[in-house]
Subunit: 365 residues, 4 copies
């Protein structure tokens, strides 16, 4: 379905990096959800580049909601959020050589040169701002249901953050208050330093994001093809730069034995839990009530100032390219709120499919 | 959409491990594709357990096609393949404690105890036989279009297989002729030995599958939400035991710089290629004409004979369990043909969406 | 989505008139619904041709359910029903001239001659048997929720049946017990007589089916594109021979004024109702709590013994054709249970989307 | 899928009658289609109320395209068109009694009072402006492929227009140049007179729209569930006030015999045609190459100045209502361009599914 994702709660995304406006439509929302424009703005701020470790492009992200909200609450009709592109310097971009690691060449092959090539066009990470704004409508509603999402930069430029602690709720609350989301701020300082060094060399770095979701009921997900892992990975791999997704212990499970990897069940206060969580809260594609845990590999930003070999898709000539314009030496820390956002949207869809349209707005937690 | 996957070419899957029949419906196939029942049987044989490193359950997989084929070719209508479950010893299974690492507990939470619990029911790997049979209809058609898919056991029980060689076409051809698909058979011998040792201990092992797809045209995939990576990961995470998916260099990209990770473009005989393939043939979610490369983490089989702690979901009692019945000490080598199958089906869908219904049966390569 | 219909509860249909088996998969059913095989058989009997006003082809419709049911109840997994084609005399059919009014020519244009042409192949009304069987799983569940569906032959061969009475529940109950569903049996006798006369002339007749659904809650349907009218008409126009669908007063509304057509609201026992029902229980595409009323135009069976002008799609030659084989001089009375069936399936989908997966099996009415 | 319709080419619609903006997203368009903003404006003018037979609400429909177009052509990415609501006098609307014949009561039941009730909110015919603008992007592209769509007011307030002539192409060309689309302008004058009389009485009238589509290739449509009739009726019943849809001779087929209703095939210049077109260009749900013909029943505008009985959904009180504000005494003539628009969009989807993404922009007719 291309630019639309979801069955019961569906998101449609549109816009280009240097077009007049980007936006998203969320359809299928429960009627009556309070819409907190301050929270939307705050989430957009988390995504927005800031400081020396980010592009100098400055967007105010002055979003507006043009449908689906009435007197401060969702109506149940399609909600549309629009964000103008303010600071576009399209003069920086002309059709030229394909930037290595970017969509330029693949987009040319797909759209025969009709694509809006400026700044990556529809493939630009800029478009994720609309996703973040849309998701910011549902994240507080999920929280009101006891479902808490948070992500940290688990690794960046060779430095590992501290792992999640036993008090996952506190971890997530802390992460959601930070602009550079790490559990151990000393590790965060090292990461930022490494990003600045890469920037000074005209290069970039990547990293790993680790996400936890607390409070998901057991029994969410649809076999065969709409497992929680399938639906989440589908949306996560739509986030630019994500090249790997693993749940629970993920690739490390390949080296375990069954007796190590199986999470034993025990009872506590009348409900089942597992004493380990190598399966990341998912068995057979269905949530088991444990925290949902997954990790995304984020590749280094492909736009770098260093000279690279490439070709011009229009002329077929070999050439070299040093990407100009304003770019991020790392996006892993900014991608974190995008990952939270697509996670929230995908979970809303699965929950609405399971419990019906109105559930998200229903009073009981 | 639960048991249906795909937009233009869609697959619907049904059946339970110990029900009378399992099956799949493929809808949207080009009319006129030759259907090779011998190849279907051969693919089912690759999936079927065999020898000491597999469950003793023996299924003949006597499939039959009951719709969508006429005079040896696809009609363009929905094609249905049915496979009876012959060797079901349901007496081995009674509703009991949840098997750790299996869907039992999550399924109970989802279906309130109405699920067919025998042998994992609808969650059983058994159901993949129908997927394999369905995909075996399209794999030869893709090959006729020059699109070749192959997978090797890249790692199992701590042993790495050799990497893909420069002659990828030869590698894939070789792999597709092997029942235990490794590039270096000496490594395969080590893996099988480790599997046997695990089996002798009542335990199991996991591994990593690496897949390559040759011959995909550039420009396949749909931003934002139906990128090649999104669509493939969606189906791959539906395969039981897959807990991680990465494209190209995947998680290793997190530790690279942009100058290392970006694949430089060059021209050869009038068409562009990249001198490295860290992005696995995908830029911006769209194929770039290079081989599509991805890896799946396969967890160790959860059914093990060793005693494990668990609970009974019906009664809420804590208990222990040593799984009886016939089980595989590893499934990574059997899962390989399932991965090839869902890859073929997902690519058919994206190709049909791009080039139309009839393309797959059109004569030109 | 071709052979699949529905979002939350989806049906996939497959098979050909002279293939080995036809069938349907219903996916997304609530777990725990009792499955009454006697009722399924009874519904199939209503669809089956009988007596002098029907084809001589005799199918026992010995259906079997091969997935999704365990210990007499739905599991929540995909339910598959299969029906073998027993009495196929394919010798009666060879590729020949296109039968006027049938899909033969259009199918040839679509499938380039690869279609199974025998008896209409996948386009045959025979396939509706699988739909009827599938729907027979959910009709009792809808009834348990107070939702009652019934259809009468409102007009056939120039004779009108009596209109629905004030006691709609009694009307529907009566209709569901009849094989030739009319409210006034004397009118039914006239209709059957006219059908026999048409048959004796080698010709056929059409008619109009009128359906009522009682007990639907207000608020069902999704603007813009999945209104109750949109979703129902989508499925109704899939029923072979249906060429018109109207809701409430339908085409007659075109000649009314607003003051005549608007249904005034009044209160009774604390809930709203309308004193007329020209809108057929639907306002703005959403149910308003009044009975849902619609009518389907069913064209005369195209297979007739009279000689007709036609062409051979393979050779492009003009020719004449008198259709041989065993055919119905009317199908309107048989189509009635098919209309009930697709109505039940479409409503299940809209209700599940609104109230969640489990609603249909929940105890409260 | 609620506010999204289509598989390969999908439209998402949003907005409310008195919200800041309405809009539509078309996704899946071929790249390279020229976008003619003048034609979009002209189509919007056809939909816009004008003269004494229309509401006094005046919208300039100053649309803007904010994504998916670059240098005057479609990019292949999601195209978004936005239309501000300029002349909203929300003071005319307060939550009050449900307007009979409108969605007010059903919407209240569905959205629990959170809906934007002003002017019908998301249910308002106003929203169709966005559909018309979106479709105006593809209508010229269809024409370039030889596919011509046109609709006339076949009946209004008891007056029939002339039927389509033998020169259907000329008829359609003429209709597309008229603001009140009739083939016989003297009949149009009678209709307008009747509309004015109804208006003077504070009442409204309905009518029938008849549409023809020329140039559709044979073989379009997908059995079972996505027949041309299914897909078109799905979208047509989404148009406010449409209460009936019939193809070809439609309900009149119910009174024909098979020998009358079957359209005989003949050959002309090497291709097949039918000598009559009672089936409206569709056999078995698939186009047969003849003109596609269908009719929509449009009910009288429900907003009338005459006093009507109704209830207040909020309080449950019985009351009376004379609808104030600015309303149309008929919308059938304005709905005509909406019918053309949804027809164009639905056909684009079916054609793209059949022939691939790029077909609509390919040079050959």
């Amino acid at each position: 379905m291309k630019n639309t994702f979801g069955t019961s709660v569906a998101v449609t995304l549109f816009g280009e990096s240097h077009g007049p406006e980007i936006g998203a439509v969320i359809d299928g929302l429960a009627p009556g959800l309070p819409v907190d424009e301050g929270f939307i703005a705050a989430q957009l701020t988390l995504r927005r580049p800031a400081g020396r470790i980010a592009t100098a492009r400055q967007e105010t992200d002055a979003f507006r909601i043009v449908s689906g909200v009435f007197e401060g609450r969702t109506t149940g009709s399609a909600l549309t959020v629009l964000i103008p592109n303010a600071d576009t310097r399209s003069g920086d971009y002309t059709r030229g050589p394909a930037r290595p690691g970017h969509a330029d060449y693949a987009a040319f092959a797909k759209y025969h040169g009709y694509e809006d090539y400026r700044g990556g066009g529809h493939f630009s990470g800029r478009i994720t701002a609309a996703l973040v704004a849309a998701a910011a409508v549902v994240i507080p509603a999920l929280q009101a249901k006891g479902i808490l999402i948070g992500t940290h930069v688990a690794r960046c430029a060779g430095t590992d953050d501290a792992p999640f602690s036993k008090n996952l709720a506190a971890d997530l609350e802390k992460l959601n208050s930070l602009s550079f989301a790490v559990l151990d701020e000393s590790k965060g300082a090292l990461m930022r330093e490494a990003i600045e060094i890469a920037a000074s060399k005209g290069d970039s770095v990547g990293g790993i994001l680790e996400t936890a979701v607390l409070g998901l009921p057991a029994g969410i997900g649809e076999p065969w093809f709409d497992t929680v892992e399938s639906v989440l990975s589908h949306t996560l791999f739509s986030v630019p730069a994500v090249k790997g997704v693993e749940f629970g212990s993920g690739f490390a499970l390949a080296d375990m034995t069954g007796s190590q990897a199986n999470d034993p069940f025990r009872m506590r206060n009348g409900s089942a839990y597992t004493t380990t969580n190598h399966n990341g809260g998912v068995n057979g594609g269905i949530t088991n009530g444990m925290p949902l845990i997954f990790r995304c590999a984020v590749k280094p930003t492909p736009s770098i100032a260093l000279e690279q070999q490439t070709v011009n898709p229009l002329t077929g000539e070999e050439t070299t390219l040093a990407v100009k314009g304003r770019h991020d030496p790392a996006i892993v820390h900014r991608a974190r709120v995008v990952v939270d956002s697509v996670t929230a949207l995908a979970l809303c869809d699965l929950l609405a499919l399971r419990f019906g349209t109105d559930w998200l707005a229903s009073p009981e937690a």
